[in-house]
Symmetry: C2
Subunit: 150 residues, 2 copies
Amino acid sequence: MMFQSLKNCPYYLVSRVYLAVTSALKKGMASSGVNNVKPAYIGALFTLWSEKSLRPSELGRKAGLEPSSMTGLLDRMERDNLVKRTPDPQDRRASRIELTTDGLSAKGPVREAVTQTLDTLFAGIPDTDLETTKRVLRTVLINCSKEGMK
Amino acid sequence: MMFQSLKNCPYYLVSRVYLAVTSALKKGMASSGVNNVKPAYIGALFTLWSEKSLRPSELGRKAGLEPSSMTGLLDRMERDNLVKRTPDPQDRRASRIELTTDGLSAKGPVREAVTQTLDTLFAGIPDTDLETTKRVLRTVLINCSKEGMK
DNA sequence: ACAATTTAATTCGTATACGTAATATTCGAA
DNA sequence: TTCGAATATTACGTATACGAATTAAATTGT
């Protein structure tokens, strides 16, 4: 893979898009009055809105984070009154993550703010191009998870 | 923008790809014997290999980082013997960033390792799809930089 | 039953990036 | 020329994520 300028390097582009979209989501949430949800919570929240009561490691697997990353994330989400840890009665090593009332009621506003922000940022991009992009990114993820790359 | 699963959310995909490729680059460099270059240095190094002696803020603009992010990055790159800060004789507020001997000689091995890693991770993706993806990502960056989004 | 292994979660140290505020210097207008 | 605005960089606090090591509990092989 050859590229002359950084703007032509897919890694550079992905990095910048990640940071820029994260920043836009933060502002989008704030201007929708959602003040206790940070961009990093989105994956965990979306997962918990469809599946109640997961373990930290399961939640991490679904949201794409390592177990050791979940500890701090869940600490912050608990501090922000979105989830609570409950001891798992079946397994005293484990805990269950459950939405609080605030975490549940955030569903509407957060989906709204995320949808609106992404609609704005992806405006003017043909559907087929967006589908191609998502397919490419999924392929890269699969390649990353192959032996020797993990 | 609607999506049922996280795997269909472009922000989720971009986040995961960024983290997974970063991790792969770290390993790719290590296995090429490049031990003092971290993935976050790549943008700055590529820039300095084509333009000598930039100010921290200029380097940040070209590499896509805020000035306040440059301080720590340059601290680490100096610690790792890749660059050095020189006081700017024209402006005592400013400094010039220059490659060290190590920073210069890293060019070959780093370009090699990055190229090889990205080739592996983007294997099997048609050129036209990759071009579409890069175009989409550039469009998103432009949308992010518009008024109200910054 | 129980020692060895595996598993769940956390702790710790580090890297990465940002925004806001502080500091130092330069520049421009009066 | 001197004072106030603009600029370059850094300092500081916070968020985010990882890997390696640790702790505690469950599981497995014998």
